[in-house]
Subunit: 222 residues, 2 copies
DNA sequence: CAATGTGAAGTACTTCACAGCC
DNA sequence: GGCTGTGAAGTACTTCACATTG
């Protein structure tokens, strides 16, 4: 059951961190730890204790003063607050290497993100199967989205097909897109898009490495 | 050749955006566009024009007033500033589905990120090949890292092996880790880590979808 | 008495607005 | 005339510090 958040605006950064908290809490659960304070939880996530408490406070009071948080309770509180406490069927467009890896990604299923059907434009691929799914043509998308009330579409096409895939998803009635292709896409205001682009992170790592090296050389004047 | 940045501190967010700018600039280049102003570039990246100009200003003056930026020039200026204008050899630990997809990921090679060798702990896998690479045992890591002066390691193991993989990389002398496994890892201060975790983004999409729905119901009082 | 929940203070990032230049 | 480069103003997020409570 969904409980509305206490506060009106919640930072994007908070939502992303909450996902991390769940990840760490689940690993604590596997180790049979059922109580945790904000500080150790925060440390495992690479943030401050006060950050954890503030993030949670946007949604309610889930802790016990002087004690901490019950792991099981807190996982449920966060997943319920975010809306990830039930199944989310999804469709995937673009059955290349990356697409196949995503289809097979075990973690999805365990967290309620279930791929319902997969699609590709390539006539060579249509009709064949990948990890037990029949590869369908784009025309088959809209009825499946409607029938299963699917709201999330995954794009794993090559960059030059990403916009077409996005357009197809939008006209099929999807409301959010997870884009793995290294291309920006244009969609109506009302559609939510997230980009999974590890080049951003690789660039960031390289910059950090280079910065480290140069700061060793010139640690003299300003 | 590397030019040091004009300013001392540069926001992480700026670095990540610069990677996006390069991506969009490269697609402009493919369309034979060789001049672009901050505004249209910014729109394609989903940010403000002033943001683009400020981000670039951290590193120098690359534009022509009244005109805009030369696409080719700007790509070079950004890649040089970040240190991604030359090859970065990498190693990969964990040859499962995801690992194989990453090895085969064509974009890496095109951007100078070259996988040099791949490793796995599973005796069943060691000695076999994946996409033309022989799967090596962890013991072989340190000498290869040293020989090729490798600084970046990719972790694509299952979550319960991620810490072991990270420890192996650190003791082999790596200085940055790109972690695809859905587990937090502990490393010394001096090691840079970036997490590629699309659950964060999926959670964020779900929250946006749910928020949209509820805000339609209660658009009355505060 | 230990750890939460939270206003208030601090910091970091973004946008504005316009002078400077092509 | 149009667009860059940039201080100054604004906004958003993070951390502090402490009153509160099991």
């Amino acid at each position: 059951m969904y409980t509305p958040p206490k506060s009106k605006h919640i930072p994007q950064a908070t939502i992303k961190r909450l996902a991390t908290y769940v990840q760490v809490l689940e690993s604590l659960q596997r180790d049979n730890i059922d109580l945790v304070a904000s500080r150790p939880l925060a440390e495992a996530c690479g943030v401050q204790g006060s950050q954890v408490r503030k993030d949670l406070a946007y949604f309610g009071e889930f802790g016990i003063r002087g004690v901490g948080y019950q792991v099981k309770n807190l996982i449920l509180a966060i997943t319920t607050s975010l809306g990830v406490d039930h199944e989310w069927p999804m469709v995937l467009l673009g059955v290349g290497n990356l697409g196949r890896a995503i289809i097979n990604h075990i973690g999805f299923h365990a967290h309620g993100f279930r791929i319902q059907a997969i699609f590709d434009c390539d006539p060579e691929k249509i009709g064949k199967t990948a990890h037990g799914f029949e590869i369908l043509p784009p025309e088959a998308l809209a009825p499946i989205v409607a029938m299963h009330k699917i709201e999330i579409g995954i794009v794993t096409t090559k960059p030059n097909s990403a916009q077409l895939a996005a357009d197809t998803l939008v006209s099929a009635g999807i409301s959010a897109i997870l884009n793995f292709s290294p291309a920006r896409i244009k969609v109506p205001e009302s559609i939510h898009v997230e980009y999974v682009d590890f080049f951003r992170q690789l660039y960031s790592l390289v910059f950090d490495i280079v910065r480290d090296k140069t700061s060793v050389w010139d640690d003299n004047d300003s």
